[in-house]
Amino acid sequence: MPQMSRVIHIIRISFSVIGAGLVLFLFLNYSETLDTPLREYFTMDFFGQTGAQNSVAAIYLNYRVFDTLFEALMLMVSVMEVINVSWRNKHAEQYQFEKDHINRKNNSEIVIRMVGVIYPFVLLIGLYIIINGHVSPGGGFQGGAILATALISRYLVYPNFDLDLHILEKLEKILFLSIVLTPVLYVFMQIQPANTELSNQIYMILMNSLIGLKVFSGLSIIFYRFVFYEGR
């Protein structure tokens, strides 16, 4: 048997070496020069067509909005996985939640003061990045992640569980539904009140805010589930 497994081992290693060599060979010999039709399509007149001053926002909210829908779906599926495939479900009988377990003693005083000072600025920059996403770098995902960081740093100061995760969970699903509906109506079916720059910009801001809130609730749910339900 050891002889056999050794042969298999050698076959595996040679297979991966040959595969890597093939990929590298093809990659290094690939010298086709393409014209730039796609780049021109995306960058020539994106401001006039979509109303976004930032070409990245133009791509992910208008030209390639289909990708955004599935990214949002992916985050929602992972949140649902975290909730349903949980350690707590298997050990429900021995699990009990400690209520109002105020535990400030272990936390550093420096961290508490500094988080209190920084907190409003973090919220402000998160909202700024969401609302200004179609003008400057940023957008819904980045702003939502910063907002979630603000909520998570709250745990460092006040490690008690008084959030209602069910509301956040429902909010996330409703937000996902509206994230799907808005571009389907506005971009795919072209049901627009007026095809002007202003309406395009309102659509961008609306989509960015929806994505930002959804990412915020999704990441917060994942963090608080991990901290309060998965730990022993």
Partner: protein, 188 residues
């Protein structure tokens, strides 16, 4: 020039993150790795990606790792050198190679718990009264005393693997704190 400097810093930070002995240090190095790679993205004209990396890599994942590390168990070790009159860093450097490093490595690799070592020159009674340490190493002249509980499996493992854990110390006595009363009673 600036570009290759950034990439080399990235490589160094990644290596330090992987090879670091202490988990908390690894997490901080990972955060600085994320910050540097955000700078690299900015240098390559991708501010959107840089913003996402800064928010996720530096903010979210660092806090998440730190909270997770806080939830795993920490083994509290105290080194007492009551004979020393003055307290300075040379004494810590002295025991660094013989006791601290091997003990840290043993606890992390074999027991998979996080060691935390304190150093003091106060007396044993004072230290025991002040804090509840899991494991106390006491140096009295040439003798080294190890204090611990019999119910503590980690302490038992340390004693069983003493040759690996504590190097270059010839005279070692082991004191079981919870059995002390019994042995006194038999002596009398």
């Amino acid at each position: 020039m600036f570009q290759s400097f950034l990439l080399l810093v990235l490589l160094a930070l990644a290596c330090v993150t992987v090879f670091s002995d202490n988990l908390r240090r690894s997490i901080i190095f990972l955060g600085s790795f994320s910050l540097t790679i955000a700078l690299v993205y900015l240098h390559y004209n991708a501010p959107d990606v840089a913003l996402a990396e800064a928010a996720i890599g530096v903010g979210l994942s660092t806090i998440m790792y730190l909270v997770a590390l806080k939830k795993i168990s920490v083994y509290d070790i105290c080194y007492i050198n009551a004979g020393a009159e003055e307290f300075n860093d040379d004494q810590i450097d002295e025991i660094m190679e013989t006791i601290v490093r091997p003990l840290e490595l043993f606890l992390e690799r074999t027991e998979e718990i996080e060691p935390q070592i304190a150093y003091t020159n106060q007396s044993l009674e004072h230290t025991v009264k002040e804090n509840k340490h899991d494991f106390i190493i006491e140096r009295r002249g040439n003798l080294t005393y190890l204090h611990g509980d019999t119910t503590d499996p980690v302490f038992q493992d340390i004693i069983a693997n003493m040759n690996e854990v504590i190097k270059d110390v010839s005279e070692i006595r082991i004191v079981f704190r919870d059995q002390e009363v019994n042995t006194d009673a038999t002596d009398e």
